[in-house]
Amino acid sequence: MTGLVISDLRLRIGQADILNGVSLGILGGEITGLAGESGSGKTMTGLVLCGLQPAGAVVTGRVEFTDSDRSIPNLLALQPREFNRLRGRRIAMVAQDPVASLHPMLTIGTQLTDHVRHHLRLSKQQATARAVELLERVQVPTPETALRRYPHQFSGGQLQRIAIAIAIACEPAVLIADEPTTALDVTVQAGILRLLRELRDDLGLAIILISHDLGVMSAIADTIAVMRYGTVIEQGSRQQVIQQPQTEYARELIAALPQVPPPGITTDAGGQPHPDAQPHPDAQPHPGVQPHPGNHPHSTRTGA
């Protein structure tokens, strides 16, 4: 069974304990939501799974990785070089801010093909063909043209689609999406969430969706884990966690949800978001028409 089994993951930087024994199972073909307020350790958990924890961090525990053809008993015991072969190929990541996480001076084509060529040893032509396929897969219009263009020529929503294309380019088993919709317009969010759900179904990906937004979670997560103070304080299926939260903290989080569900989510009679609901047609505008502050050439954080 594809997926990750995290047991008793601990991380400490200097005197600060960031993670205090995270245990969690992540299955292929499922979206596992990691919820929690900032500082709860959810982002750090995602980084550790990619082997990208900050310099000087001491990590203990076990992360078992399984995919179709192999099983690695403990990712944390891997040599950096071995981890590097896994990263981007079997375990991929989508960052929060697509504008900041794409290099402003490299074409989309370069950023979409360099790791494909590196990991899969494809020729330039093969990699480009693959990149076109990927852009079609994530519904970026006119892929051939898009490959020759630079990040600042796209809207934020488009860039996040491109970032997802980069992440799934080597057909990973696990995709870590860290707040993939937080930096985006509300109207674009639904499209990205729907894309993630499609990828789960079509590719059998194990998706870890990190978000502080339980509304997003309740829309697409299959299971939800609530984190606080560096541990998982509650986990279960979406229905379980949303409808019968076991801990006081989770109850508070759910009570804090706005009554209006996030865009693209229709609710059933009980007022809870329906998992298989299709977004309202208006909520998925034509990709590419989203004006977004992020595509202003002088407003990017990465600017000169």
Binding site: G14, G41, T43, G51, P80
Partner: protein, 289 residues
């Protein structure tokens, strides 16, 4: 391929005062400050007295030798601290006050005032420092006071730029806005809310600037545009010394004096900057934000 997993690796960092560079810097700087204060009370020859055999190499009686007019080089080198340090400090204070004032005005009021001030700053930056200093000092005539004026006229933009950007970013901070909403006037909000936050970056800048101002001052003296003879000043001593290579001690010791005091200020300034720089400390907080 040294660190495949992490591009930046760092060992634990010792506190500022325990880092080797800072220790060396503090040693050098305090040596010269103490010398500056106590040098008249030391049993040294008069730095201006032409009492000895000219151009005698370093020996027991004259550890640094004597110069072409028979003056004791050791005495002149130690007394040289009085011709450099006070002026350099004065210079940094003047340009700091001038620059802060101008920069704060530009940043706080913005608009046309900001635009005009910053274009003048650009203009000053357009000249390489020593060349502009040389031009101004030549126009004013030689003399250490004129050299200080010349350097002050060209040093303020550094401070103005830093203060301006700090004020610009602080101006929109919520606590400043809140202060203004509570009725604080522009001056009191500058003083109470903004100044405390720009103090430490300015300290670092001033530290590093002290070093370069000493280099510039002694450079002007070397060119004959700073201290006038017969004053014992390091730059002009080196200037006299480089004329005659066989008498290496003439230039070597005052040069080392400049080097050690500048290295001292730069080591301290750099260590301070590193410890105050958010970039170097925020790896932990940033990732978990």
């Amino acid at each position: 391929m040294t660190a495949p997993a992490t591009l930046i690796r760092r060992p634990r960092i010792a506190p500022v005062w325990r880092r080797p560079l800072a220790i060396v810097g503090i040693l050098f700087v305090s040596f010269w400050f103490i010398t500056m204060i106590i040098v008249p009370f030391l049993p040294l020859a008069d730095p201006l007295a032409q009492d000895f055999t000219p151009l005698s190499p370093p020996s027991g009686t004259h550890p640094f030798g004597t110069d072409i007019l028979g003056r004791d080089v050791l005495s002149r080198t130690l007394f040289g601290s009085r011709a450099t340090l006070p002026f350099a400090i004065l210079l940094v204070i003047i340009s700091l006050i001038l620059g802060s004032l101008v920069g704060a005005i530009a940043g706080y009021f913005g608009g046309v005032i900001d635009e005009i001030i910053m274009r003048i700053a650009d203009l000053v930056f357009a000249f390489p420092t020593i060349v502009l200093a040389m031009v101004v000092a030549a126009a004013l005539g030689p003399g250490i006071t004129n050299a200080v004026i010349a350097l002050a006229l060209i040093s303020w933009p550094n401070y103005a730029r830093v203060i301006r950007s700090l004020v610009l970013s602080a101006r929109n901070q919520e606590y400043v806005v809140a202060g203004r909403l509570l009725g604080a006037g522009p001056l009191s909000s500058l003083r109470r809310d903004i100044l405390p936050n720009v103090a430490s970056p300015m300290l670092v800048l001033a530290m590093l600037d002290l070093g370069s101002q000493i280099l510039l001052l002694s450079g002007l003296s070397f060119l004959g545009l700073g201290a006038v003879p017969p004053a014992a000043e390091w730059g002009s001593m080196v200037g006299d010394g480089v004329q005659q290579f066989s008498n290496w001690w003439l230039a070597a010791f005052p040069g080392l004096a400049i080097l050690t005091v500048v290295v001292g200020f730069n080591f301290i300034g750099d260590t301070l900057r590193d410890s105050l720089d958010p970039r170097s400390a925020n790896a932990v907080t940033q990732v978990n934000a």
